[in-house]
Amino acid sequence: MIHSLFLINASGDIFLEKHWKSVVSRSVCDYFFEAQERASEPENVPPVIPTPHHYLISVLRHRIYFVAVIQSEVPPLFVIEFLHRVVDTFQDYFGVCTEAAIKDNVVVVYELLEEMLDNGFPLATESNILKELIKPPTILRTMVNTITGSTNVGEQLPTGQLSVVPWRRTGVKYTNNEAYFDVVEEIDAIIDKSGSTITAEIQGVIDACVKLTGMPDLTLSFMNPRLLDDVSFHPCVRFKRWEAERILSFIPPDGNFRLLSYHVSSQNLVAIPVYVKHNITFREGSSQGRFDLTLGPKQTMGKAVESVLVSSQLPRGVLNVNLNPSQGTYTFDPVTKLLSWDVGKINPQKLPSLKGSMSLQAGASKPDENPTFNIQFKIQQMAISGLKVNRLDMYGEKYKPFKGIKYMTKAGKFQVRT
């Protein structure tokens, strides 16, 4: 399956390699470097590169290429998903997945890779199980380890593999029994010039943090379960029950896990929480352009839109801008032509705006396209799809747990064309 893995940074250095079968020479990456040179942007390196004896399948995350070397025919989706899982695990362990973090924790990285694959086949990839095998480094633990000389390897075999419920270890004990659920939705949308929606879809997840004693059996029901399309569950959820009653019934893993992820497609109407009024004009022949942008909330059920950040790549002909934000700050990089405006919170009484002029290159013709705006925002206490949890019950244990549910909406790939 997966023969070897190379980690390559943006400047084209291999800074880590791991071989699960025979050692593949580093020179195989030359094909990758060739493709990297040809690509204008780092993202443009094709994910699958055939070479005479191998295939290179790469994934770009956090400006690092994870390049898997494959010798025989494999399902590509399998390899890609696995590489993403590796990155997710690193991120989970080290907080960030940067070259520096990987180099600092090179020992843990090797241990993890060794546990995740054997002979090229995935072995242990569940974060719960991995964390019992190899404890993640924390500052405190690093200090304690340095002083006492103990290690970050679990001495015990993961008990989860011995219990009846493979994802939960036996004999869990807590003094405070709590179960928290975060409903997080990301809205991806493309809004056209006139403000009408071209596409909009919602990707949602429910992340859980469950710290309950014993073997609790939870059921979670929604007010409007029919909203969800393409639901994907954690293996603990009883699928039959969901199909029949639309109720999530499960024995949760211990700690943090993703209970389900779902998708609300454009078939349902998706509410767009912000609108943008814009007037960006370049006059033919003059070296000035007008810039006027106003943001406002809509369909937010009274909740505040926060952490708003607008960014845009202005046309190449723009030399500089002279703008005046009614709130927040803006920056413009004359080299990359990247405009970014940190708005903060939108006050519905006084809408934030950014107005002013752009100076264009003298003599250059009028830019032929208007910029596209990427907008990021957050709305607390609301799931934009309207998804609501009805109730959460626990069976199988006597105590009364503390329960909490939080909603949040974020912008994913939210674009406004002008």
């Binding site: 800074f15 880590l16 079968k21 025979s22 050692v23 204008s40 942007e41 993202e43 443009n44 094709p46 994910p47 699958v48 055939p50 295939y55 790469s58 494959i70 025919e73 399902p75 590509p76 989706l77 399998f78 890609i80 998903e81 590489l83 993403h84 090179v106 020992v107 090797y110 241990e111 054997d118 002979n119 086949f121 569940e126 340095t146 290690t151 970050n152 001495e155 075999l157 593999q161 493979p166 991806d188 493309i190 071209i198 596409t199 990707q203 399309d229 393409d230 639901v231 994907s232 569950f233 293996p235 699928f239 199909e243 998708h263 497609s265 454009s266 032929d368 790939k413 674009q415 064309r417």
Partner: protein, 710 residues
Amino acid sequence: MPYLSGEDAVKELRRALSNPNVQSDPLRYRNTITKVIRVMSQGVDVSGLFPEMVKACATVDIVQKKLVYVFLCSYASLNPQLSLLVINTLRKDCQDANPMVRSLALRNMTNLRLPGLAEYVEQPLTVGLRDRAACVRRVAVLGWAKLHNLQPQAEIDAAVVNELYSLLRDSDPVVMVNCLRALEEILKDEGGVAINKNITHHLLNRLKECDVWGQCDVLRVLERYRPQTEGELFDILSLLDSCLTCAHPPVMAATLRLFLCLSAGLPSVCQSALERACGPLLAACGSNSREMRFTALAHVQLMMQSVPGLLGAHYKRFFCGYAEPAFIKQRKMQVLVELVNDENVSMLLDELKGYCTDVDPDTAQAAISAIGRIGRSYSDKCLDILTGLLGLRQEHITSAVVQTFRDLVWVCPQCSDVVCAALQGCEETLQDDQGRQALLWLLGVYGERVATAPYVLEGFIDGVRAEVSVSVKLELLAAALRLFLSRPAETQDMLGRLLHYCIEEERDMCVRDQALLYYRLLQCGPEQARRVVEARRSDPALGVLIGRPLQPIDAWAHGFNTLQPLSTAAATPDSSTRGILPKSKSFLSASAVEEGDFLCVVKLMPCQMLPVNSPQSLQAALQLVNIQTMAFTPPNALPWKVYLYTHTQPAPDSTSAECTLVLAELLYSSDTPDSSRITVKQKPRDSAALSGFLCILTAVLNTVSAECKL
């Protein structure tokens, strides 16, 4: 810290490793070993430290052990002698009380990859298969596969294979899946694991317990199983049904592949499987990971060869985001082109128009040629956009537009008027070879309709000395000759100059030969030259074939969920060249059709009136009964002709796999208004098929003409 070169670093580390003070302090010892690993990961050759590291292996500290193993596994092949020392420590660890240590030792023993050590490894592996801890069994099972890889020619121990087969029923799902994986590798020469009914049902029942990776592997192995009865097949399919909508794309793809494999002979089952899997596949197309989106798109393209209508309603999901990488945008555009229909065409074209000004020239060109492809069915709207783009006067855009024009007029000659009008002034912005070649070709073929053609050519001919590209020169020669034939007075002088230059001064053989050929051709007289040069025009009487025949699902199913759809060139085959001949085993040339031993039948068919005014509806109707139209004359022209072909499927029960090919010409002329003449050629002779064909054709014609009258 002073900069140390590779050698210095190794020397420094060796000193530290052999320092007794370091060795006695476990913490310092481990840190030094960490340093070795770090240097190793930077690509420095630290194999010289092997003896020191072997010593460090004998320790109780698990982390230190792990680190040393990482080192040993990378360099063992360079030091086979010394590795023998390690084996003892490892074998001792295999009897440790802690299952984790046991599995670690077992795994690294097999990872040393030294054929000489195989005899020492076999015994612990055999014991490992019966270990009570699942994690040791997992490692031991795969260990046998690794051992086999080391000595592929060695005899396979039948006892081990049997043991592995019995472990397929292990209580731990990972052991089960690893057994499958190991057996697949060990028994590769025999075609992998033997899959019988019992194993299949056992695997299916335990599928839910496996993790996603395991599920993928199990599903892949199951592809080899052939259900004995239809009832069993449907049992299996209904068990797998929930996996088909699984939100993990790898599992979904593997399940769909299995569905297509198992129900290869049942198109309706395949069709409904595709419909079910469509949702998750679309979700994967909108996934956060670019690589995932790319792969999903490639598979969507595969699916659309058979069921183009499936995703029609979701065309908006394939609109490009602004920050997406070029390879995704180009795939999405190819999908969009296939999804175009009467309702969404203007929306789609608006969208594609936006991509034409993309920063990345390749993406922009792909967008323009996508518009060109749509132009074959919706020429007016597309030509408007394309001519508008010329106004931007951007070099790469103009080049792409002119190339698209060239391709478009070849299949839709009716567009040529607009194209000729638009060509005015393009030559100023064109810089690259492809663009200029396209312009020259257009000027040559439609020279009489472009007023400025001679002047543009003159510019090219004046600059021919400075021209570096051979292909541009060749195209220039051809264009000049063609223009001379249509507008001799204006072109004669410059053609003379060009030929003179090419014959006397040109260094390139190809160009010189071409020029000489044209020169001699012209000596034979303009009429002769015209016959040779202009024969290659596309025939405007040939109707365009826009719809292409649907591929059967089996045609691509074997490539589904493999690397094949990803690595094939991004361009899909051209629809205009598709569907001319059925996929027969041997290619048919025109002369073979003319001269071959075809059975020829000419018949009059009673038919009130052919649907002369709506050939498209006739084409659609004929496609329903698997008769393909190759070409037809434009609507309302008399005499009206249509060319058809069809072929029979080889009957499943007959021994001969041969199928008969039928070619037909249907002629409707004003002389015989109540009937049309049909000429049929058939090979090999099969009178039952022929009469069936004629019967179906008559029925279709009568139905369609009855509709037309209403």
